[in-house]
Structure formats: C-alpha cells, structure tokens
Subunit: 504 residues, 2 copies
Amino acid sequence: MSPVKSQEEMSSILKDHVAKTTFKPAAKLVASQLNPHALNAKYAVRGRIPTKAEELRTKLASESHSLPFNKIINANIGNPQQLDQKPITFYRQILSILQYPTILENPFIDKIFPADIIERSKFLLKNIGSVGAYSHSQGIPYVRKSVAEFITKRDGYKADPNDVFLTTGASTAVSYLLGLLSLGPNTGFLIPIPQYPLYTATLALNNSTALPYYLQEEDDWSIDSTKLRQIIIDSKAKGVEPRCLVVINPGNPTGAILKPEGIADLLGVAAEFGLVVIADEVYQENIFKGEFVSVKKVLRQLQELDTTGLYKDVQLASLHSTSKGVSGECGQRGGYMELVGFDQSVRDQVIKIASISLCPVVTGQALVELMINPPRPEEESFTLYNEETSSIHNALEARAAKLYNTFNEMEGVTCQEPEGAMYCFPNLSLSKKVIAAAEKEGMEADEFYCNALLENTGICAVPGSGFGQAEGTWHVRTTFLAPGTEWIDQWKAFHAKFMDQYRD
Amino acid sequence: MSPVKSQEEMSSILKDHVAKTTFKPAAKLVASQLNPHALNAKYAVRGRIPTKAEELRTKLASESHSLPFNKIINANIGNPQQLDQKPITFYRQILSILQYPTILENPFIDKIFPADIIERSKFLLKNIGSVGAYSHSQGIPYVRKSVAEFITKRDGYKADPNDVFLTTGASTAVSYLLGLLSLGPNTGFLIPIPQYPLYTATLALNNSTALPYYLQEEDDWSIDSTKLRQIIIDSKAKGVEPRCLVVINPGNPTGAILKPEGIADLLGVAAEFGLVVIADEVYQENIFKGEFVSVKKVLRQLQELDTTGLYKDVQLASLHSTSKGVSGECGQRGGYMELVGFDQSVRDQVIKIASISLCPVVTGQALVELMINPPRPEEESFTLYNEETSSIHNALEARAAKLYNTFNEMEGVTCQEPEGAMYCFPNLSLSKKVIAAAEKEGMEADEFYCNALLENTGICAVPGSGFGQAEGTWHVRTTFLAPGTEWIDQWKAFHAKFMDQYRD
C-alpha cells in the first residue's frame, strides 16, 4: 500500500482548489420537496405514541424524574424478545454453530451441545454453506424444499419448492408484491379495515389506491363477501381497477381467525375478478381458540371440489415469518412467501426484483428451516423445545384471557375474544368531552386516550385510528406480550378515572 | 385449542358452498400487466450469463455431461465466501455467542473461546440485547455510536451517532434514498458509467431519470467535473432537474480510486446545484494501490478551508457494508449510511421509510460493530485476526496483479491497474466479425464474448454492457475472488483462440 497523505498535505492540495472556486451555493432540500408518495405513507406502529414512550423512557433513566410510573410497558409492538421472552434454545444453538462451524472441531463440543443439535448443524452446513455468502435471490434451494414439505404436511396438498420465495421478514414480500402490482392511482388493493398499517404505507409509497373493506366487528371480525363484491363493482365504475385482495389471518390487529367458508367466499371473489390474493398468515402458529386453516388449503379443496375450473386460475401469495409464533425472532428477519397459480412471466419478475437486493439474510433463511423442522420427539432436544414452546404459548394464552376479561369489565369497553395472533383490539365508547378534548390537542379521540394511558401508567398501546376503524368507533390495539399482569390492572384503574374525568 | 376439523368435515362444508357458486372466472395476470417501471429494471449481475452458468452447473452435476470443463468459476459476483474464503474467526465467534448467550454459562467456555471474545460478547449482549428483538428502525443506539467513532477516527472529523442509519446491506440505503428523492421522470440522478447496476435498476423502479456521466477510462477512470457540469446544464434545459450525484469509490466495476482533488471538484458541483451526494464507499477497505479518502473527509476539509460557506449545505449520504472489505460477509446483510448536512425534516422521512420494514437484521448490525472494532493489539484474538485478514488481503492483491498482468498480455486487451474494490474491468477490442456474430444471437459483442468464455472454460464473468460503457467500447467485469490462478491462464488460452476464430 502506498503511503497515506497527511492531513497537512491534503489541506494544501485542497487549499489551492478552494482558492480558485467560485459559485453560488444552492439551498438544501426540505421534506416537502421529497417524493410525495413517500411523504403520504403513515406507519402508526412506530408513530406518535411509541415515539413519546421512547422520550418518557429516557426521562425515566434520569433519577430526578417526576413521572407517576417507573417503567414503560411496550404493548404497542409484537416484539417478544424485547419484553424478556427467552429465545427457543433449539433455534439458537444451531444458529450459533452455523455462525461458527469451527466449534464442531472442539474436543469439548459434546459437553456443550446435545448430539442431535450437532448432527443437525452438520447437515445444515452441508446444505446451506456459509451464512456469510449470498444465497440464490429466491432463497437457498434446500430451505425452499423444506418449506414446500412443511406446507404439504400442513395442508394435505402438495407444495412445490419452486413456488417458495424466502424473504427478509414478511414485509419484504409485501413490498415486492405491491410494488409489482401497482400501476398508479387507478390500481386498487382491497385492504381489511382495521389492518396492519404496513399495507396502507406500502400502497402510499406505490401511489396506488387502497380499497378498504370493513371487517364485521359484531360477527367476530368476519368478512362480508357481498359487501366486498359491491366495493369492487363501485371501484370499477369509478375507473379504479381492483387487482389484489389482502387478507390477514389470524387478524392483526383484530386477533380473529377466518372460517373456511369465509375464505371460500373470498376466493370466489378473487376468481371472479382476477384478483391476486395476498394471505398474510404470519400468526398461523398463534392460535388460542378455534382452528387455523390456510387460504392455500381452502383453495386446493375448492379446486378439487369444483370440476368446472372456476378456481383454476386463482393467484395466491401466502406469507409466513419467523418473527411471530412462539419463536418471536423479529430481529432475525426470516420469512417466506408461497406463490401459487402465478404465470411464469410474473414469477420471473418477482425473482428479478428480489435479485436487486441480492438475497434475504442467510441466518434468517436458516431460521425458517428450523421453525418448520423442530426437533423430533425421539431427539434429545425435543423435551426442552416442548417445554419452552408450551410455556410461551400458555403464558400468551393466559395473558390474552386476562386482557379480554378485564376489557369486558371496563365501563364502555367491548372486546372480541382473541382467537389468534398477539393482539386485543377493544372497542371504546368515548364521551363527547373526550372527543372535544382530543380535537383541542389535534388528536383523534383514541389517540388522546392512548396518550393519557401512557402519561399516567407508562403503558404504550396504539390507537385504532392507526389501523383504520368504522366511522365513529374508537379502538386500541394492545399486544398481550408484556410480561406479568399487574399492568392490566393498572390499565383498568386508569380507565375508571379517565371515564370519570370526561363524563358528559 | 378446539378440535381440528377433519379433511372430510372441511370438504362437506365447502361442497355445499361450491354447489351454489356461479360466476365466470377471470384470467390470470401476465408480466406485461405489471408495473412498467418494475419491468424496466435490469440487473445484469444476476442476469443472462450468470443464469446460464447455473444451468451449466446443474449439467456438470450429472455424470454424463460433455462440457469441456469440470467446474464453474464464479467471477461474476463479489461473493467471497461462496468461493471458499473462510470467514474471520473473530466475527464468527462473537456472533456465535450473540446467537446463543447461554453458552457463556457452560463450565468449558474458556476451553472454547479466548477470554477477549467472551468479554467482548458479554459487553455487546449488554448493549445490543437479544438479536431476536426488533431494534430501533434507525439501528441500535450503541452501534450507531460506534460507527460515529469509527468515522471520526477514519476522517479526523467528528461524526454524530444521530447521523448514522444502520441498514440491511448497502442496497437498502440506496433504495431508501433514491425512493425519497424521486419525483418521476423529471428528476435526474447523475450515475457514473460504468456503474454497479443497482443504481439504474433502482431508478427504473422509481421511474426517475438516470443522467449518465462517463468515467475517463484513459485517466484512471477519473471524473471530469466540467463535463459533469455540462450534463447538469443540458439536463435542466430539457426540464429534467438533477437532484443527486452518485459516486462509487473505490469504483465498481472499475476498481479505481478517486483522488481528493477529484472529490473536491464533485463537491463543488454538488454545492452549486444543490445535489445530494451518494458516496458508495463499500470497498473502502479493499485498497491495493494509492489511498482511500472518504468524500466526508474532503467535504469537512473544504468546509474548514472555505470561509464563505460555499460547502456549508452539501448533503452527503455515505454508505458502507460488511459484505466487502476482507470480511466478505455478504449473506449477513450488514451495512450503514451516514447522512451529513440533511435537513431534519428529510432525516425524519428516512426514519419513517426505514420503520415500514421495521428494522435492519440485528446480527448484521452486530457485525457492523465488529467490523469497525476489530480486536486490539493487546487482545488474545488479535494475532489470528491479523493473520486471517492479511492473508485474505494478500491473496486478493496477488490475484489482482496476476489478472492485470495477464489481461495486458492478451491481444487487443487493455486494463487499468486495479487500485481498490474486487474487480478488473478490462477493455476488449472486438472484431467486426464478433459484433456481427453477436448480433445474430441477439447479444451485445461483450455478452457474446462472455458467453463463449463461459461455454469453453466455465468462467462466469459479466459483460460491460450490463454496467454501461462508452459507445463502441467493450468490457468485461471480473472479480478477483475466485481461488487459485489456473483459471486466469485458461482465460488467456481461450482468448487467443477466440481472437483467431473471429479475426476480420
């Protein structure tokens, strides 16, 4: 390497340069000059209330704070490991070895890892290679084959590894699909309301039109396919061509699970109008009541039962992730989508778009493999895996029940029983006084409520207005991940005071 | 959990449903109906030649193949660990512990990891938390602080942790910035030619206009700022407003390093026309000849030397990554950008866009931390780290020299001496016969050459036409990562035959 120039040498070179330079400098950019579609995108999960919670957390760290609580309860985001949920040992032991395969040569290795972990790691290293190498943009062939086997087993219908695309979390899949399907404001996307705001944010970025369809809160947040059909017809009449139907099942933020008949209705609508169905099924392992049936399974059954080919050409993208379930490995960014019924020319475009960002993170791909292939009952790691996953599942279930019961005890609050996912989405009857007070602060009434909840208890939950809700209704989304249950009682006490304070 | 419905029960529910369903199904989508901007995006690094190489690799695996070679040499992509480069032990030991912190409680731990690795891991676990939790969308505060210290030390000018944004590889940073700055076809982005095709692909996705500026091959691929200014003036006259100037330094695919005076010229142009400078500096640690000086350092020096405020408002985004350097940890998707001189309102939008995909992969963020804070000379891991990194660096340097010398011995080939990055970009004089033969196959002449090279030797290199090149010139980009040097001799032998075969 050549000798490096000193600061002084550099200065003297540039001094001459500056001496002979003359121009009028331009002003810097401000946000209003940026891409208006990007400016329009809103993302409530990390919006105003969570931002304020972060500020309060900083305040709490200073000793002289005068806040009426001692910690922030993050009930705003499904981030289990931030909230002390321990990772599943099986996943982490194998990821640890994949990061440092040399450890397998250590003479003490069998004092560190169970035999099945060592064996499985060796096998995966052979089939995955170094986690530091770019993989195929569609994902590691071996993992895609595994995912196909997992889906085959889950649904009882054969899945094809070529249909599987590994992604960096599920949000990347949404970004690819919505980006490819968007042709501007005349392209419509049917989005459930309430919805996870990733969808409206991504549509805003793509300057396409969200066609909201309201979930029937009173009927367990079900979908009314007659209304859905009407929205499509009305939209076409206005020149906005619906292209895609987004379904979130189990629901975020609703916590509800769709029934097979309901899914069949949706697939009929999709078949009739040539809509791409995006089935966001990232909570498929968070089931507390009832049964999860995948959209793919219902589609295959309809294709089998209907001999006239009505459902033959339905295009379905179903998404899954390592961030949810009992794994809760959000920071590892693993996920996949299965594309069924798409034309090869469309799939080629998906691969091309994926290739621009090279490949999904390889450790995340490995984690997908582990999530769908946990230890087998005869393996040494099975007992611990089983204990850990059951205990996480049971704690979630217990907290969900406690939240549900508590909300239904509160004045003016109704809450659907949570069936799946990680959320309750209680409905709040708020007084005119609250609405007026909120308006004065430039807030929606439910945002005002969440703000008061945060300021008084340290509990951070997100207002329903961030997810969308029927006109004149107010909701709050809370996860049931935060450890302990005292915070739920604190919420109840706050609520009683709040209702008294703002009684009309 | 409720009992799960059997396949038969499901069928009987859906049978009734199907019986009463009637509609005319719509046809499925084909690619031509997708977002035309996405269709326009091209990405040569994973394009036609690499795709063919994969097909040939599959053929090689069958025993009865009749190919004139026994393996594919991937010289198309900077993916060192795919090509047998061993990962740096220091990185992987710590990542291994971060994945499985419980290992620290093992009584044999000090028989497995050096003391400094254990200590550093404990420290990082305290400051990073679980790698399975979502981090702040801008990145882990501790790592951002470290990055700021690294930049401060590198440049001799203070950097601010609030200016640092951790990203999933450098391509995510490019996607955010180009997305925010794009206002449609009337927004212009100055892109070097030849360039890494990520830039033109991302601009195509955003429907914005690439304003190519040609690097001066004969002058070590330098930038002519007079011509740059002219391109801006011409573009404005045509109604396309230049917003951004992309600089790749060290160059990809050129392998050249910019001089401080050249950078100062560019910053003058940026200041005069209010252009955001994107400095893609991911190869800053791959230096073989000369010296890398960051754009940020030159900017700070100009700001210091010029007392009239000419450079005060320059907006600079500089990118770095864990995929290159000697780490070559491509699959781990670590990276960062530093935003200097941007208005707060613009930075807020960057954070919002980042928050839509929640957070960069956390292990990638940890790897950034390790890359910029390698073991200190007094630490146990230092010797091995030093050996490993020197040996990788020396092997790259030796192979770069061998490639450079060999190209310059070949008939009709000239090649600039590689100074940095991982690439040679030799210039090929191809005969009229080659051009005619290529045209017959629907290829550019250099693509035809690369195709013949692949078919005859198994060497996969990418044609210059995928990166852009001056009209009437032909190039090939080859990495110098593939192990061994025999393949370089094979290339030489192929070249001689090819030239003979297509002599005019």
